[in-house]
Amino acid sequence: MNKAPIEMMKEVNTKQEQARYTRAFSGFWLNLWKGNPPGTFLLLVSLLTGLAMLVPLSYVFIRGIQGGVDRWLNLLDTRIPILLYNTLSLTIVVTFFAIVIGLSLAWLVIRTDLPGRKTWQWLLALPLLIPPYVGAITYIIIFGPRGWVRDWLGAPLFNIYDFWGVVFVLTMFTYPYVYLITSAALKRYNLNYEEAARAAGLSYRHVFIKAVFPLLRPAIGAGAILVALYVLSDFGLVAMMRYTTFTAAIYYQMGNYDQVAAAILSVVLILITLLFIWAEAKTREKQRFYQSKGTPRQAPLIELGWWKGPLLAYASIIFGLAVFVPLSVLAYWASVGLTEGVIDQRFWGFAWNSFYMAGMASLICMFLALPVVYMKSRNPSIVSTVVDKLAYAGYALPGVIVALGIIFLFNQYIPFLYGTAALVITAYVIRFLPQNMQAADAALSQVSPRLDEAARISGFRPWQVIVKVILPLVTPGLLAGGALVFVSAMKELPATLLLRPPGMDTLAVRIWVDASEGFYQTAAPAALLLILLSIIPLRWMLSKY
């Protein structure tokens, strides 16, 4: 049958139009990717990863907003002002002391003739190995209401549970962030500035104020933000020391099954966190501006003279308080535990739970990190940048909020997995994937894009290039990142507490529960095991800064 001419013309028209739309779209698509779009598989994995990172958090946000005006007003009237005061004052004071201690120690070990400075350089980074809640437990053991000091003197010297107690313990275990980053900046510092300032006739005190400190400011800022974000997100330490910040309040609301209140408090905390991250982005901008070329010259060491003794004592005291004392307390209680035979079937069961869930999370992270990082590096576009940023979302946010989002999500959409280890593993992946991504990014930056092109030209498709060239070359970095994720997941507390299925207690959970009930002899061996495991990725972590 012949079609009517008009119909035929219509058909031709639509075909032409379709072709035009196809061309317009492919033009748009190419433009979006600057002429270099990624393969379908790569794009899909990356997009899904970014989405998976975002969904639980946005769910918390939506739930919080939907909480209703009444609940909001009620909370704004009662709890939020106190929580804001508690959280912000703690964050600011701890960050301040962390900067003072971190910066002074960094300067001492890098730029002065402090005896044994090479050894001090890594000794003073060791507090990073000790999970802050473990540190808190050891100080409660010493100074708590039923602690050793009371046993010796008949009464505790002071109340460890008050604001300054919390500040002290938090500072001891967070100063290494500032210390490590400023040490690295001091090592890179271009001596010419300092010499130019000295040549201009300034005394060293003025040189430091006018030429060293301003150039270190971005590094100090970066370290300070890490400390601040840690304090905002910490749950184990503040809860252990009975100090209520947002995270602790959210945790207890969830314990009371008041998820709306938990979501509302989470929204406020997310906003505060975003504010801090925004501040960090600002310091980064400046960092680019200040970026200085390093000199290969060894900086002349500043002679301390008679200050040597007092400053050596200062470094020793910090090391003692942050590393030696906690480890000694743990060693004592672990030996008590060992003689009582606490390392039994049960203990290894907890260890296996930790190992299993942390191991799964680190495997998943190793698998997901490469596509996201690879796409960002090799197919730059607004899409890959957004996916990369999304993947970092879980990093900055407290574990309790991640857990809350996961509870909402699985309850609503994946109920058959509710109450399984999948929830805990998902939380670990969301929280720690960025650690793996950083490692993968560092490894990938060593691989020239020319190698990709050489492989393409040799007849391999993009996904084959990843398998045959990229993967073999970045595997060490991926594994280092995986180890980091593994250790972080082993130590993770709040999300595990909230999400663990019945009977799936981890070492971290047992440490927390046992210590809360005063069973230090069972908590201490587990804590020592975690600290020992943390040594594995430490080498890599130190070289990162």
Binding site: I457, K468, P472
Partner: protein
């Protein structure tokens, strides 16, 4: 028969004002070595990457041995273009030894034999088990070349392959690479900013500037008869003088006198033009017509590079760059007479922009 054809290819990078390559037309005959020569940012590397398929042109058509690889609606990705490439940093896979690098991507059943064959061609037998970091720069270069040759590609692209080599090795590798490519009967496109590389290795040279072809020709044509002031000064040194074609049609009348030249681009008598005189084509001669005072001189061993001040017919000063035979002893301020050897004098059209 052309192995490579580019037809009015234009490429503009996102976020830039000017096109990196503008309306480029280029064709390379089978078995030829073509060099894209130009300063950095002239679009030569972009052209190479367009041929390889690492960049997509905004307009134009690219054909590789009768197969359209890039046109408005057709696009063939790099892995299917059948191309061999030698990268500036060689891009040898650090996790593979020489055999696996050379055989990378070789699909035939005779992989082992073919790898041995190309290793013989590049003279690298005995290095099969070494890894890239265990090889010298020249050896890495040869592995990269072997890898590019192994799959018997339609064309071989070389991106500044000599820039990472020291001067002595560079001279040696120029000869070797040319021989290897010729023996393999391959068609090659080669990118460089070094005129000596280009003159030594090419059958044809294409000089580019700002994304546009300035001149294309054999090395001799490019050096002896540059068509634009840019080519004359970029490929070798030259003295550029304005003038007009003499009445005999075999010379140019300039401010320093009438200069004979063999090649005048068929410009009409009296027509305005530029003349390019290479420093080598000015010879010290007591009978010469050009008189000048030595302003400064540098002894280089191969010659004496001198700047000579001459007085033009108008009475103004004109500096000339002259290469004097190294045996001669010159003094600053000395007055010398020169004559012009007609072979290395080129007439440039004055309608081409002076740069």
């Amino acid at each position: 028969m052309f192995d490579i054809e580019l037809l009015s290819v234009t490429k503009k990078y996102a976020g830039t004002e000017k096109a990196a390559v503008q309306g480029l037309c280029l064709s390379v005959e089978k078995g030829q070595i073509l060099t894209l020569l130009g300063p950095s940012g002239c679009g030569k590397t972009t052209t190479l990457r367009l041929i390889a398929g690492f960049e997509r042109p905004d307009q134009g058509k690219i054909t590789l041995r009768d197969r359209v690889v890039s046109h408005r609606d057709s696009w063939i990705p790099p892995e299917k273009r059948d191309i061999g490439m030698v990268f500036q940093d060689y891009a040898l896979f650090p996790h593979l030894n020489v055999i696996d690098n050379v055989g990378f991507g070789y699909r035939g059943t005779d992989k082992k034999g073919r790898v041995q064959e190309v290793l013989q061609v590049v003279n690298l037998q005995g290095f099969e088990k070494r890894f890239p970091h265990e090889l010298s720069g020249g050896q890495q270069q040869r592995v990269a070349l072997a890898r590019a040759l192994a799959r018997k590609p339609v064309v071989i692209l070389l991106d500044e392959p000599f820039s990472n080599l020291d001067a002595e090795l560079r001279v040696q590798m120029r000869v070797e690479v040319k021989e290897i490519i010729k023996d393999a009967g391959a068609t090659a496109v080669f990118v460089t900013h070094d005129q000596k590389d280009a003159l030594a290795i090419s059958d044809r040279i294409v000089v580019m500037k700002d994304g546009v072809i300035q001149q294309s020709g054999t090395p001799r044509e490019i050096y002896q008869y540059p068509e634009t002031p840019f080519v004359a000064t970029f490929v070798g040194q030259s003295n550029l003088l304005p003038g007009q074609i003499g009445d005999d049609g075999q010379s140019v009348i300039t401010e320093i006198g009438q200069v004979p030249c063999n090649h005048t681009h068929n410009l009409a008598r009296g027509e305005k033009c530029y003349i390019s005189i290479r420093p080598d084509s000015l010879e010290v001669d007591p009978e010469g017509s050009i008189v000048g005072k030595v302003k400064q001189w540098t002894y280089t061993g191969e010659s004496i590079d001198a700047v000579v001040d001459t007085v033009t017919q108008k009475g103004t000063n004109q500096e000339l760059l002259v290469h004097i035979h190294p045996e001669k002893i010159v003094q600053q301020g000395e007055i010398l007479r020169f004559k012009v050897l007609p072979n290395f004098v080129a007439v440039l059209r004055s309608d081409r922009e002076f740069s």
